[in-house]
Protein backbone atom coordinates (compact mmCIF):
# COMPACT_ATOMS: atom_id res chain seq x y z
CA UNK A 1 0.00 0.00 0.00
CA UNK A 2 1.39 3.37 -0.98
CA UNK A 3 1.74 6.28 1.44
CA UNK A 4 -0.13 8.46 -1.04
CA UNK A 5 -3.01 5.98 -1.00
CA UNK A 6 -3.12 5.97 2.79
CA UNK A 7 -3.20 9.74 2.78
CA UNK A 8 -5.99 9.59 0.25
CA UNK A 9 -8.03 7.12 2.34
CA UNK A 10 -7.71 9.24 5.46
CA UNK A 11 -8.57 12.48 3.70
CA UNK A 12 -11.57 10.82 1.99
CA UNK A 13 -12.77 9.50 5.36
CA UNK A 14 -12.58 12.97 6.92
CA UNK A 15 -14.24 14.58 3.91
CA UNK A 16 -17.11 12.11 4.13
CA UNK A 17 -17.51 12.63 7.85
CA UNK A 18 -17.87 16.38 7.33
CA UNK A 19 -19.89 16.10 4.15
CA UNK A 20 -22.49 13.97 5.94
CA UNK A 21 -22.14 15.75 9.24
CA UNK A 22 -25.74 15.06 10.31
CA UNK A 23 -25.39 11.32 9.97
CA UNK A 24 -21.92 11.48 11.52
CA UNK A 25 -23.39 13.11 14.61
CA UNK A 26 -26.28 10.63 14.65
CA UNK A 27 -23.92 7.66 14.38
CA UNK A 28 -21.60 8.99 17.09
CA UNK A 29 -24.56 9.59 19.41
CA UNK A 30 -25.84 6.06 18.83
CA UNK A 31 -22.49 4.50 19.63
CA UNK A 32 -22.13 6.83 22.62
CA UNK A 33 -25.54 5.97 24.03
CA UNK A 34 -24.97 2.24 23.72
CA UNK A 35 -21.48 2.36 25.14
CA UNK A 36 -22.61 4.59 27.99
CA UNK A 37 -25.24 2.07 29.06
CA UNK A 38 -22.60 -0.59 28.67
CA UNK A 39 -20.12 1.34 30.81
CA UNK A 40 -22.71 1.88 33.53
CA UNK A 41 -23.76 -1.77 33.58
CA UNK A 42 -20.13 -2.81 33.69
CA UNK A 43 -19.41 -0.47 36.61
CA UNK A 44 -22.35 -1.96 38.49
CA UNK A 45 -21.52 -5.54 37.59
CA UNK A 46 -17.87 -5.19 38.54
CA UNK A 47 -18.74 -3.66 41.88
CA UNK A 48 -21.43 -6.16 42.75
CA UNK A 49 -19.01 -8.92 41.82
CA UNK A 50 -16.38 -7.28 43.97
CA UNK A 51 -18.75 -6.87 46.92
CA UNK A 52 -19.80 -10.50 46.71
CA UNK A 53 -16.20 -11.53 46.58
CA UNK A 54 -15.50 -9.59 49.75
CA UNK A 55 -18.51 -11.16 51.42
CA UNK A 56 -17.37 -14.59 50.33
CA UNK A 57 -14.00 -14.03 51.87
CA UNK A 58 -15.40 -12.70 55.09
CA UNK A 59 -17.22 -15.99 55.55
CA UNK A 60 -14.69 -18.04 57.44
CA UNK A 61 -14.43 -21.71 58.29
CA UNK A 62 -14.36 -22.30 62.04
CA UNK A 63 -12.66 -25.25 63.72
CA UNK A 64 -13.84 -25.73 67.32
CA UNK A 65 -11.40 -27.26 69.76
CA UNK A 66 -12.06 -29.60 72.64
CA UNK A 67 -10.87 -28.47 76.06
CA UNK A 68 -8.78 -31.63 76.33
CA UNK A 69 -6.10 -30.16 74.08
CA UNK A 70 -3.12 -28.62 75.80
CA UNK A 71 -1.14 -25.67 74.50
CA UNK A 72 1.41 -27.82 72.59
CA UNK A 73 -1.30 -29.76 70.82
CA UNK A 74 -3.08 -26.54 69.87
CA UNK A 75 0.18 -25.26 68.43
CA UNK A 76 0.73 -28.37 66.38
CA UNK A 77 -2.81 -28.23 65.01
CA UNK A 78 -2.26 -24.59 64.10
CA UNK A 79 0.75 -25.55 61.98
CA UNK A 80 -1.06 -28.43 60.34
CA UNK A 81 -3.98 -26.23 59.37
CA UNK A 82 -1.64 -23.65 57.87
CA UNK A 83 -0.09 -26.38 55.71
CA UNK A 84 -3.39 -27.35 54.10
CA UNK A 85 -3.37 -26.28 50.44
CA UNK A 86 -5.69 -23.36 49.56
CA UNK A 87 -5.82 -22.16 53.15
CA UNK A 88 -4.58 -18.61 53.34
CA UNK A 89 -1.79 -19.08 55.88
CA UNK A 90 -2.08 -15.61 57.38
CA UNK A 91 -5.84 -15.94 57.74
CA UNK A 92 -5.65 -18.67 60.37
CA UNK A 93 -6.61 -17.06 63.67
CA UNK A 94 -6.65 -18.60 67.13
CA UNK A 95 -9.63 -17.60 69.29
CA UNK A 96 -9.10 -18.27 73.00
CA UNK A 97 -11.84 -18.76 75.60
CA UNK A 98 -11.52 -15.14 76.67
CA UNK A 99 -11.68 -13.79 73.15
CA UNK A 100 -14.73 -15.90 72.41
CA UNK A 101 -16.53 -14.50 75.41
CA UNK A 102 -15.52 -10.93 74.59
CA UNK A 103 -16.84 -11.34 71.09
CA UNK A 104 -20.05 -12.87 72.32
CA UNK A 105 -20.68 -9.97 74.65
CA UNK A 106 -19.87 -7.50 71.94
CA UNK A 107 -22.07 -9.12 69.32
CA UNK A 108 -25.03 -9.56 71.67
CA UNK A 109 -24.55 -6.13 73.20
CA UNK A 110 -25.13 -7.98 76.48
CA UNK A 111 -24.44 -7.09 80.06
CA UNK A 112 -21.17 -8.87 81.11
CA UNK A 113 -22.66 -9.61 84.50
CA UNK A 114 -25.03 -12.07 82.84
CA UNK A 115 -22.10 -14.40 82.33
CA UNK A 116 -20.93 -14.21 85.90
CA UNK A 117 -22.20 -17.59 86.95
CA UNK A 118 -20.83 -19.41 83.94
CA UNK A 119 -17.44 -21.11 83.78
CA UNK A 120 -14.64 -19.37 81.92
CA UNK A 121 -14.55 -22.04 79.28
CA UNK A 122 -18.24 -22.20 78.46
CA UNK A 123 -17.42 -21.08 74.96
CA UNK A 124 -14.97 -23.36 73.11
CA UNK A 125 -11.63 -22.27 71.69
CA UNK A 126 -11.46 -22.21 67.93
CA UNK A 127 -9.46 -21.55 64.81
CA UNK A 128 -10.92 -19.29 62.11
CA UNK A 129 -9.53 -19.52 58.64
CA UNK A 130 -10.31 -18.51 55.06
CA UNK A 131 -10.08 -20.48 51.89
CA UNK A 132 -8.52 -18.54 48.99
CA UNK A 133 -11.68 -18.88 46.98
CA UNK A 134 -15.22 -20.10 47.54
CA UNK A 135 -14.58 -22.90 45.12
CA UNK A 136 -11.85 -24.31 47.34
CA UNK A 137 -13.92 -24.16 50.52
CA UNK A 138 -15.20 -27.68 50.26
CA UNK A 139 -11.73 -29.02 49.55
CA UNK A 140 -10.40 -27.26 52.62
CA UNK A 141 -13.22 -28.59 54.79
CA UNK A 142 -12.58 -32.12 53.57
CA UNK A 143 -8.91 -31.71 54.40
CA UNK A 144 -9.78 -30.46 57.88
CA UNK A 145 -12.03 -33.46 58.46
CA UNK A 146 -9.21 -35.69 57.19
CA UNK A 147 -6.85 -34.32 59.81
CA UNK A 148 -8.51 -36.68 62.29
CA UNK A 149 -6.87 -34.75 65.05
CA UNK A 150 -8.21 -35.84 68.34
CA UNK A 151 -9.78 -32.87 70.03
CA UNK A 152 -11.35 -31.23 66.98
CA UNK A 153 -14.95 -31.11 68.04
CA UNK A 154 -16.75 -29.60 65.14
CA UNK A 155 -16.11 -27.80 61.87
CA UNK A 156 -18.39 -24.86 61.32
CA UNK A 157 -19.19 -23.65 57.86
CA UNK A 158 -21.70 -20.99 56.98
CA UNK A 159 -23.05 -23.14 54.22
CA UNK A 160 -26.40 -21.49 53.80
CA UNK A 161 -24.75 -18.12 53.11
CA UNK A 162 -22.10 -19.61 50.90
CA UNK A 163 -24.64 -21.26 48.64
CA UNK A 164 -26.76 -18.13 48.42
CA UNK A 165 -23.80 -15.92 47.58
CA UNK A 166 -22.58 -18.27 44.88
CA UNK A 167 -26.02 -18.35 43.31
CA UNK A 168 -26.37 -14.56 43.37
CA UNK A 169 -22.90 -14.12 42.00
CA UNK A 170 -23.40 -16.50 39.10
CA UNK A 171 -26.80 -14.98 38.36
CA UNK A 172 -25.38 -11.49 38.15
CA UNK A 173 -22.56 -12.63 35.90
CA UNK A 174 -24.96 -14.29 33.46
CA UNK A 175 -27.32 -11.31 33.43
CA UNK A 176 -24.56 -8.79 32.84
CA UNK A 177 -23.05 -10.85 30.02
CA UNK A 178 -26.47 -11.08 28.34
CA UNK A 179 -27.17 -7.36 28.79
CA UNK A 180 -23.77 -6.38 27.44
CA UNK A 181 -23.92 -8.75 24.47
CA UNK A 182 -27.41 -7.47 23.65
CA UNK A 183 -26.21 -3.88 23.75
CA UNK A 184 -23.32 -4.61 21.41
CA UNK A 185 -25.59 -6.30 18.85
CA UNK A 186 -28.10 -3.48 19.14
CA UNK A 187 -25.53 -0.78 18.54
CA UNK A 188 -24.08 -2.58 15.51
CA UNK A 189 -27.59 -2.81 14.05
CA UNK A 190 -28.31 0.86 14.63
CA UNK A 191 -24.95 1.88 13.19
CA UNK A 192 -25.49 -0.27 10.11
CA UNK A 193 -28.80 1.45 9.52
CA UNK A 194 -27.47 4.94 10.11
CA UNK A 195 -24.52 4.47 7.80
CA UNK A 196 -26.64 2.72 5.18
CA UNK A 197 -28.43 5.98 4.54
CA UNK A 198 -25.24 7.71 3.43
CA UNK A 199 -23.80 4.70 1.66
CA UNK A 200 -26.95 4.67 -0.40
CA UNK A 201 -26.19 8.18 -1.56
CA UNK A 202 -22.64 7.10 -2.32
CA UNK A 203 -23.80 4.19 -4.39
CA UNK A 204 -23.09 5.88 -7.72
CA UNK A 205 -19.69 6.82 -6.41
CA UNK A 206 -18.90 3.20 -5.60
CA UNK A 207 -20.17 2.07 -9.01
CA UNK A 208 -17.94 4.59 -10.75
CA UNK A 209 -14.99 3.48 -8.66
CA UNK A 210 -15.62 -0.07 -9.78
CA UNK A 211 -15.74 1.00 -13.45
CA UNK A 212 -12.38 2.69 -13.31
CA UNK A 213 -10.90 -0.45 -11.81
CA UNK A 214 -10.81 0.19 -8.06
CA UNK A 215 -10.18 -2.91 -5.98
CA UNK A 216 -12.67 -3.71 -3.24
CA UNK A 217 -10.10 -2.76 -0.62
CA UNK A 218 -9.46 0.59 -2.25
CA UNK A 219 -13.18 1.33 -1.93
CA UNK A 220 -13.43 -0.13 1.54
CA UNK A 221 -10.55 1.64 3.27
CA UNK A 222 -12.12 5.12 3.52
CA UNK A 223 -15.26 3.49 4.94
CA UNK A 224 -13.23 1.54 7.48
CA UNK A 225 -11.40 4.66 8.63
CA UNK A 226 -14.67 6.55 8.78
CA UNK A 227 -16.25 3.81 10.91
CA UNK A 228 -13.18 3.69 13.11
CA UNK A 229 -13.32 7.43 13.74
CA UNK A 230 -17.04 7.33 14.51
CA UNK A 231 -16.47 4.40 16.88
CA UNK A 232 -13.54 5.99 18.70
CA UNK A 233 -15.29 9.32 19.20
CA UNK A 234 -18.45 7.44 20.15
CA UNK A 235 -16.40 5.61 22.80
CA UNK A 236 -14.53 8.64 24.13
CA UNK A 237 -17.72 10.58 24.93
CA UNK A 238 -19.33 7.97 27.24
CA UNK A 239 -15.94 7.18 28.80
CA UNK A 240 -15.58 10.79 29.81
CA UNK A 241 -19.07 11.00 31.25
CA UNK A 242 -19.01 7.66 33.03
CA UNK A 243 -15.63 8.50 34.52
CA UNK A 244 -17.04 11.78 35.80
CA UNK A 245 -20.16 10.12 37.20
CA UNK A 246 -18.32 7.22 38.78
CA UNK A 247 -15.94 9.50 40.60
CA UNK A 248 -18.78 11.63 41.89
CA UNK A 249 -20.97 8.72 42.93
CA UNK A 250 -18.07 7.23 44.91
CA UNK A 251 -17.45 10.59 46.58
CA UNK A 252 -21.12 10.97 47.52
CA UNK A 253 -21.26 7.42 48.90
CA UNK A 254 -18.14 8.00 50.96
CA UNK A 255 -19.36 11.30 52.34
CA UNK A 256 -22.82 10.16 53.28
CA UNK A 257 -22.47 6.51 54.18
CA UNK A 258 -19.27 6.11 56.10
CA UNK A 259 -20.51 2.81 57.45
CA UNK A 260 -20.84 1.44 53.93
CA UNK A 261 -17.20 2.19 53.40
CA UNK A 262 -16.27 0.32 56.57
CA UNK A 263 -18.17 -2.78 55.61
CA UNK A 264 -17.29 -2.96 51.95
CA UNK A 265 -14.85 -1.47 49.58
CA UNK A 266 -15.78 -0.26 46.09
CA UNK A 267 -13.59 -0.64 43.05
CA UNK A 268 -11.53 2.51 42.65
CA UNK A 269 -11.99 4.73 39.62
CA UNK A 270 -8.57 3.60 38.44
CA UNK A 271 -9.41 -0.10 38.77
CA UNK A 272 -12.65 0.31 36.85
CA UNK A 273 -11.30 2.51 34.10
CA UNK A 274 -8.09 0.65 33.47
CA UNK A 275 -10.44 -2.07 32.24
CA UNK A 276 -13.22 0.12 30.85
CA UNK A 277 -11.08 2.44 28.70
CA UNK A 278 -9.43 -0.20 26.51
CA UNK A 279 -12.61 -2.28 26.41
CA UNK A 280 -14.85 0.59 25.34
CA UNK A 281 -12.38 1.91 22.77
CA UNK A 282 -11.96 -1.52 21.20
CA UNK A 283 -15.72 -2.11 21.20
CA UNK A 284 -16.37 1.35 19.74
CA UNK A 285 -13.82 0.84 17.00
CA UNK A 286 -15.17 -2.63 16.28
CA UNK A 287 -18.80 -1.49 16.17
CA UNK A 288 -17.90 1.43 13.88
CA UNK A 289 -15.88 -0.65 11.45
CA UNK A 290 -18.31 -3.56 11.33
CA UNK A 291 -21.25 -1.19 10.91
CA UNK A 292 -19.56 0.77 8.18
CA UNK A 293 -18.29 -2.21 6.21
CA UNK A 294 -21.49 -4.29 6.40
CA UNK A 295 -23.62 -1.39 5.23
CA UNK A 296 -21.57 -0.90 2.06
CA UNK A 297 -20.90 -4.54 1.27
CA UNK A 298 -23.68 -5.14 -1.22
CA UNK A 299 -22.68 -2.20 -3.40
CA UNK A 300 -19.30 -3.74 -4.05
CA UNK A 301 -20.87 -6.35 -6.29
CA UNK A 302 -20.93 -4.48 -9.58
Amino acid sequence: MRISSVRYYVSEAFKNLFRNHLMTVAAILTVSACLFILAVSLCLALNIDYLLEQMEQSLSVVVYLSDELDADQVNELYKRIQDIPYVKADSVKYISHEMAIERFIESMDADPSLLDGLPDNFLPRSFELEAGDLAYRDVVIEELKGLAFRGVEKIGNQEQYVGLLTTINNGIRVVSVIVIAGLIVLSVLIIVNTIKITVNSRRTEITIMKYVGATDWFIRWPFIIEGLLIGLIGAAVPLFFSWLSYRNVLAVLRDNFISVEELFDFKTTFEIFSLLIPLTLILGAGIGIIGSVTSMRKYLRV
Binding site: S4, E205, T207, I208, V212, G213, V302
Partner: protein, 228 residues
Protein backbone atom coordinates in the same frame (compact mmCIF):
# COMPACT_ATOMS: atom_id res chain seq x y z
CA UNK B 1 -8.06 -7.46 -29.48
CA UNK B 2 -11.65 -8.62 -29.02
CA UNK B 3 -12.80 -12.08 -29.98
CA UNK B 4 -16.45 -12.96 -29.56
CA UNK B 5 -17.58 -16.45 -30.52
CA UNK B 6 -21.14 -17.76 -30.45
CA UNK B 7 -22.00 -15.42 -27.63
CA UNK B 8 -25.55 -15.59 -26.30
CA UNK B 9 -26.96 -13.67 -23.37
CA UNK B 10 -30.34 -14.54 -21.91
CA UNK B 11 -31.48 -12.35 -19.04
CA UNK B 12 -33.14 -13.92 -16.03
CA UNK B 13 -36.52 -12.58 -17.12
CA UNK B 14 -36.22 -14.48 -20.43
CA UNK B 15 -35.33 -11.46 -22.56
CA UNK B 16 -32.69 -12.23 -25.14
CA UNK B 17 -29.83 -9.72 -25.01
CA UNK B 18 -27.69 -11.04 -27.85
CA UNK B 19 -28.12 -14.20 -29.82
CA UNK B 20 -25.20 -16.28 -31.09
CA UNK B 21 -22.95 -13.34 -31.96
CA UNK B 22 -19.46 -13.94 -33.37
CA UNK B 23 -17.14 -11.00 -34.02
CA UNK B 24 -13.48 -10.14 -34.22
CA UNK B 25 -12.20 -6.63 -33.59
CA UNK B 26 -8.54 -6.02 -34.34
CA UNK B 27 -6.23 -3.93 -32.27
CA UNK B 28 -6.33 -0.29 -33.39
CA UNK B 29 -9.75 -0.47 -35.03
CA UNK B 30 -12.52 2.10 -34.70
CA UNK B 31 -15.87 0.29 -34.64
CA UNK B 32 -19.44 1.53 -34.46
CA UNK B 33 -22.09 -0.79 -33.11
CA UNK B 34 -25.48 0.40 -34.28
CA UNK B 35 -29.06 -0.77 -34.09
CA UNK B 36 -32.38 0.35 -32.70
CA UNK B 37 -33.27 0.29 -29.00
CA UNK B 38 -33.38 -3.29 -27.78
CA UNK B 39 -31.17 -4.57 -30.59
CA UNK B 40 -28.49 -5.71 -28.12
CA UNK B 41 -25.95 -2.86 -28.34
CA UNK B 42 -25.98 -2.12 -24.63
CA UNK B 43 -25.91 -5.80 -23.76
CA UNK B 44 -22.81 -6.19 -25.88
CA UNK B 45 -21.06 -3.28 -24.13
CA UNK B 46 -22.10 -4.60 -20.72
CA UNK B 47 -20.77 -8.04 -21.64
CA UNK B 48 -17.46 -6.55 -22.74
CA UNK B 49 -17.20 -4.81 -19.36
CA UNK B 50 -18.19 -8.04 -17.65
CA UNK B 51 -20.99 -6.16 -15.96
CA UNK B 52 -23.13 -9.15 -16.92
CA UNK B 53 -22.04 -12.71 -17.74
CA UNK B 54 -22.61 -14.70 -20.90
CA UNK B 55 -25.18 -17.47 -20.99
CA UNK B 56 -23.14 -19.38 -23.57
CA UNK B 57 -20.24 -18.78 -25.93
CA UNK B 58 -17.01 -16.97 -25.23
CA UNK B 59 -15.56 -13.47 -25.17
CA UNK B 60 -11.86 -12.77 -25.13
CA UNK B 61 -10.35 -9.32 -24.72
CA UNK B 62 -6.59 -9.30 -25.19
CA UNK B 63 -5.38 -12.26 -23.19
CA UNK B 64 -8.39 -12.35 -20.85
CA UNK B 65 -11.12 -14.91 -21.30
CA UNK B 66 -13.98 -13.09 -19.61
CA UNK B 67 -15.71 -16.13 -18.17
CA UNK B 68 -12.46 -17.17 -16.43
CA UNK B 69 -11.94 -13.85 -14.66
CA UNK B 70 -12.23 -14.12 -10.89
CA UNK B 71 -13.71 -11.43 -8.72
CA UNK B 72 -10.21 -10.61 -7.60
CA UNK B 73 -8.97 -10.10 -11.18
CA UNK B 74 -11.88 -7.85 -12.16
CA UNK B 75 -10.40 -4.49 -11.10
CA UNK B 76 -7.20 -5.20 -13.04
CA UNK B 77 -9.22 -6.24 -16.09
CA UNK B 78 -11.28 -3.04 -15.95
CA UNK B 79 -8.15 -0.92 -15.73
CA UNK B 80 -7.28 -2.04 -19.27
CA UNK B 81 -10.56 -0.61 -20.56
CA UNK B 82 -11.59 3.04 -20.62
CA UNK B 83 -15.37 3.48 -20.40
CA UNK B 84 -17.56 6.38 -21.45
CA UNK B 85 -21.29 6.48 -20.70
CA UNK B 86 -24.19 8.45 -22.05
CA UNK B 87 -24.78 10.01 -18.62
CA UNK B 88 -21.05 10.85 -18.04
CA UNK B 89 -20.99 9.36 -14.52
CA UNK B 90 -18.62 11.89 -13.03
CA UNK B 91 -18.18 12.17 -9.26
CA UNK B 92 -20.24 15.27 -8.50
CA UNK B 93 -18.36 16.20 -5.35
CA UNK B 94 -14.99 16.28 -7.10
CA UNK B 95 -13.56 18.81 -9.53
CA UNK B 96 -12.72 17.91 -13.12
CA UNK B 97 -9.07 17.58 -12.15
CA UNK B 98 -9.93 15.32 -9.19
CA UNK B 99 -12.24 13.19 -11.30
CA UNK B 100 -9.44 12.47 -13.74
CA UNK B 101 -6.83 12.10 -11.01
CA UNK B 102 -9.19 9.68 -9.28
CA UNK B 103 -8.78 7.11 -12.05
CA UNK B 104 -5.02 7.25 -11.43
CA UNK B 105 -5.38 7.06 -7.65
CA UNK B 106 -7.38 3.92 -8.06
CA UNK B 107 -4.45 2.23 -9.79
CA UNK B 108 -2.20 3.61 -7.02
CA UNK B 109 -0.17 5.81 -9.34
CA UNK B 110 2.42 7.95 -7.55
CA UNK B 111 1.37 11.56 -6.88
CA UNK B 112 4.18 12.76 -9.12
CA UNK B 113 2.74 10.87 -12.10
CA UNK B 114 -0.76 12.14 -11.32
CA UNK B 115 0.42 15.75 -11.27
CA UNK B 116 2.19 15.25 -14.57
CA UNK B 117 -0.40 13.24 -16.52
CA UNK B 118 -3.70 14.88 -15.57
CA UNK B 119 -2.96 18.32 -17.09
CA UNK B 120 -1.71 16.67 -20.28
CA UNK B 121 -4.91 14.66 -20.69
CA UNK B 122 -7.10 17.64 -19.81
CA UNK B 123 -5.32 19.64 -22.52
CA UNK B 124 -5.88 16.80 -24.95
CA UNK B 125 -9.66 17.05 -24.46
CA UNK B 126 -9.56 20.86 -24.29
CA UNK B 127 -10.54 21.24 -20.65
CA UNK B 128 -7.36 22.71 -19.18
CA UNK B 129 -9.21 25.89 -18.19
CA UNK B 130 -12.00 23.97 -16.42
CA UNK B 131 -9.76 21.84 -14.20
CA UNK B 132 -11.07 23.39 -11.01
CA UNK B 133 -14.77 23.34 -12.00
CA UNK B 134 -17.25 20.89 -10.57
CA UNK B 135 -19.35 18.77 -12.97
CA UNK B 136 -22.47 20.79 -12.16
CA UNK B 137 -20.74 23.91 -13.46
CA UNK B 138 -20.03 22.33 -16.86
CA UNK B 139 -22.07 21.89 -20.04
CA UNK B 140 -22.94 18.39 -21.21
CA UNK B 141 -20.19 18.41 -23.78
CA UNK B 142 -17.63 19.50 -21.23
CA UNK B 143 -18.74 16.79 -18.82
CA UNK B 144 -18.33 14.18 -21.54
CA UNK B 145 -14.85 15.53 -22.29
CA UNK B 146 -13.99 15.15 -18.62
CA UNK B 147 -15.31 11.60 -18.68
CA UNK B 148 -13.24 10.93 -21.78
CA UNK B 149 -10.14 12.34 -20.08
CA UNK B 150 -10.78 10.01 -17.16
CA UNK B 151 -11.19 7.06 -19.53
CA UNK B 152 -7.84 7.62 -21.27
CA UNK B 153 -5.63 8.89 -18.45
CA UNK B 154 -4.31 5.41 -17.63
CA UNK B 155 -3.68 4.78 -21.37
CA UNK B 156 -5.89 1.70 -21.71
CA UNK B 157 -5.58 -0.24 -25.01
CA UNK B 158 -9.39 -0.24 -25.42
CA UNK B 159 -12.08 2.43 -25.10
CA UNK B 160 -15.74 1.40 -24.83
CA UNK B 161 -18.30 4.14 -25.34
CA UNK B 162 -22.01 3.50 -24.75
CA UNK B 163 -24.06 6.20 -26.52
CA UNK B 164 -21.43 8.85 -25.73
CA UNK B 165 -23.31 11.54 -27.67
CA UNK B 166 -26.83 10.53 -26.64
CA UNK B 167 -27.29 13.52 -24.33
CA UNK B 168 -25.48 16.07 -26.49
CA UNK B 169 -26.49 18.50 -29.22
CA UNK B 170 -25.17 17.72 -32.75
CA UNK B 171 -22.30 20.21 -32.67
CA UNK B 172 -20.97 18.94 -29.36
CA UNK B 173 -21.50 15.36 -30.48
CA UNK B 174 -19.14 16.01 -33.38
CA UNK B 175 -16.49 17.31 -30.99
CA UNK B 176 -16.70 14.16 -28.88
CA UNK B 177 -16.51 11.90 -31.93
CA UNK B 178 -13.52 13.94 -33.10
CA UNK B 179 -11.82 13.30 -29.78
CA UNK B 180 -12.56 9.58 -30.00
CA UNK B 181 -11.12 9.51 -33.50
CA UNK B 182 -8.08 11.36 -32.22
CA UNK B 183 -7.64 8.78 -29.44
CA UNK B 184 -7.98 6.02 -32.03
CA UNK B 185 -5.31 7.67 -34.19
CA UNK B 186 -2.90 7.31 -31.29
CA UNK B 187 -3.38 3.53 -31.44
CA UNK B 188 -6.21 2.85 -28.99
CA UNK B 189 -8.97 0.48 -30.07
CA UNK B 190 -12.34 2.29 -29.87
CA UNK B 191 -15.76 0.65 -29.79
CA UNK B 192 -18.76 3.00 -29.87
CA UNK B 193 -22.36 1.90 -29.46
CA UNK B 194 -24.56 4.64 -30.91
CA UNK B 195 -27.78 5.82 -32.46
CA UNK B 196 -26.21 8.84 -34.13
CA UNK B 197 -26.93 8.13 -37.78
CA UNK B 198 -25.34 11.22 -39.30
CA UNK B 199 -22.11 10.83 -37.40
CA UNK B 200 -21.79 7.19 -38.42
CA UNK B 201 -22.56 7.97 -42.07
CA UNK B 202 -20.04 10.77 -42.17
CA UNK B 203 -17.15 9.04 -40.42
CA UNK B 204 -16.97 5.99 -42.69
CA UNK B 205 -15.66 3.55 -40.09
CA UNK B 206 -16.42 -0.13 -39.58
CA UNK B 207 -20.12 -0.48 -38.71
CA UNK B 208 -21.63 -3.55 -37.08
CA UNK B 209 -25.43 -3.55 -37.14
CA UNK B 210 -27.40 -5.54 -34.58
CA UNK B 211 -31.05 -6.48 -34.77
CA UNK B 212 -32.89 -8.53 -32.14
CA UNK B 213 -29.56 -9.49 -30.65
CA UNK B 214 -27.99 -10.79 -33.85
CA UNK B 215 -25.41 -9.26 -36.21
CA UNK B 216 -27.19 -8.51 -39.46
CA UNK B 217 -24.51 -6.42 -41.15
CA UNK B 218 -20.78 -5.85 -40.71
CA UNK B 219 -19.23 -3.34 -43.13
CA UNK B 220 -15.59 -2.24 -43.16
CA UNK B 221 -16.39 1.33 -44.24
CA UNK B 222 -20.06 1.79 -43.83
CA UNK B 223 -22.94 3.98 -42.83
CA UNK B 224 -25.90 3.61 -40.55
CA UNK B 225 -28.65 1.77 -42.36
CA UNK B 226 -32.13 1.59 -41.02
CA UNK B 227 -33.44 -1.92 -40.88
CA UNK B 228 -35.33 -2.95 -43.99
Amino acid sequence: MILISNATKLYDNGVKGIDNVSLTIQSGEFVFIVGSTGSGKSTLIRLLLKEVDLTSGQIKIGRDNLSDLTRHQMPYFRRRIGVVFQDFRLLTNKTVYENVAFAMRVVEAPNRDIRRSVPVVLAQVGLQKKAKSYPSQLSGGEQQRAALARAIVNRPPLILADEPTGNLDPGTAWDIMGLLEDINDRGTTVVVATHAKELVDEMQKRVITLKNGAVIRDLAKGGYYDED
